[in-house]
Chain length 305, copies 2
């Protein structure tokens, strides 16, 4: 079924202890779209400037992304993020954020996008997230992400997005900031009270869990030996998760759990190289192989005293 | 099969945001012993002073602990730890540590302890851990714990303990300190190089994983809503883990994984109340119920593209 992804398409300049890249392909919609493309042809909505390399557009198109919703602003400059990671890869340090054309992003959906059954609202202004929801006709599943900036500056609008979402996806820090709770279990329960049916809390190297009113499921991260660049891991997880669900006939509990595993494993690939290289170059058979390995990492037999 | 546990038996005075206790029953051997007692009759080796309440001794004996190896020093005072936790329960703050009779602890094994098949060397001076190993005849499985103090002050002796252990059990901070590695996966690999067949890294609220040269298995923590007092969670995990293994006919991979689950679930009970109340009062049926719930929290169906 059709999947809509709205978010940033960006150029990232990143330095980590394992190397660096300049103006590499980045952005939440990019990472999520490429991850989702293993399962469906995602409809991308974003904005870039005239400086955005044609090569990157070709790359995404080759990966089966529908770019009808990617606006290219004449004479505009693309959103550019510059940052670095130290030995402890769990924290990104920002050097500069140039929003450029992204500052005036207006996510208007091409006509054929409006019937998307699955919607991923990546981290953008909650008012824009709501603007997207107004254009989509009866989606089956809406998932939203956000960041500390919107939690602090537009909380009311964000709560409206949460109320209208089926899945709220946040990281540890955002969960604590939103709920003022140290316990992530307690935080997830409080987030469920804001309206969604599912809350996913991403914990980086410690994996992720999903909670609904009557279920809880937790997965570790896939144990990669060398994290080269963790940028985009969360968005890759999200794209893999919702892309997998969009490819399934039914939204069963087992499929939600499989979707968590797919997102987790795709995120592991993206961390093994800079930018989107880890997922762009990934084959179905390599993905399947790691999914099987991962399944083995968590397989537990029933235990009874 | 017989299980030997060597460590501290102590009095703890603890304050958390949910209450406080004074001179409550504590110590690594106590927590581990009570957890292991669900599966076997653990042989405890430790030392206390004359001030150690008879009530605590009765409590452990009622729980099926063999206390033949618990020395009571006339006119001596029991090891007393005083500490507190703030809202973020992952870090204990020490107010005072009075080693008292524990400072001169000499773990000499009663004769019938020497044939123990399973040995848990809880966190004590590595020289004493080696002294214990010298007294035990051909154990089937030796597991050791340690702490930052010994890592920094007696590294060489500790490495000898690791070489002679089958399972090395450490927490996140200790793993990083031992290996100078941010990545816990990398840290576990480096620890395997020191000699043991298995390395377990405990991650508190994020669960634990076990790594061998050809396998990796990871579990989340059981999601408890209110952590009242996390003291002893790691030792309870250890006791449940090795106690379960000691009760099994064979040391299969599936049994190691089940042992991880048993340790994890027992640790969740101990966090729900102060001191050892959470495990002392626990029934087999309540433990089984939570084991089934936990099994459901991690159950994943195979996924193939």
């Amino acid at each position: 079924m059709a999947l809509l992804i709205v978010g940033s398409v960006a150029l990232d300049s990143i330095r980590t202890p394992h190397g660096e890249v300049k103006r590499a392909l980045g952005g939440s919609a990019t990472y999520a779209g490429i991850a989702a493309s293993f399962f469906t042809c995602p409809h991308i909505v974003g904005v870039v400037g005239e400086d955005f390399p044609q090569e990157y557009i070709d790359l995404m198109k080759d990966k089966n992304c529908d770019l009808a919703g990617l606006k290219i602003i004449a004479k505009g400059k693309t959103f550019h993020w510059e940052g670095y990671y130290e030995e402890n890869m769990s924290q990104a340090h920002t050097v500069s954020t140039c929003l450029n054309v992204f500052e005036f992003f207006q996510p208007d959906l091409p006509h054929h996008y409006r019937k998307s059954d699955f919607v991923f609202l990546a981290n953008i202004d909650p008012e824009l997230q709501l603007h997207v929801l107004e254009q989509v006709k009866k989606p089956k599943l809406v998932m939203c992400d956000t960041m500390n900036y919107w939690i602090e500056s537009k909380r009311e609008k964000l709560m409206e997005v949460f109320r209208r979402s089926d899945v709220v996806l946040v990281n540890e820090g955002e969960a604590r900031l939103l709920t003022d709770s140290w316990s992530l279990i307690h935080a997830a329960e409080k987030l469920l009270d804001t309206g969604p049916s599912y809350v996913i809390i991403k914990k980086g190297e410690h994996g992720a869990f999903i909670m609904s009113r009557d279920d809880y499921f937790s997965l570790p991260a896939y144990p990669i030996k060398k994290i080269k660049d963790p940028t985009g891991a969360g968005d890759t997880f999200a794209g893999g998760f919702i892309g997998y669900l969009a490819s399934q006939k039914r939204l069963t509990r087992a499929n939600f759990r499989r979707a968590m595993a797919v997102g987790t494993v795709l995120a592991s690939f993206v961390c093994e190289d800079f930018s989107v290289r880890g997922t762009i170059s990934l084959t179905n058979s390599a993905l399947n192989k790691r999914l099987r390995e991962f399944y083995n990492h968590v397989r537990l037999s029933a235990v009874e005293l």
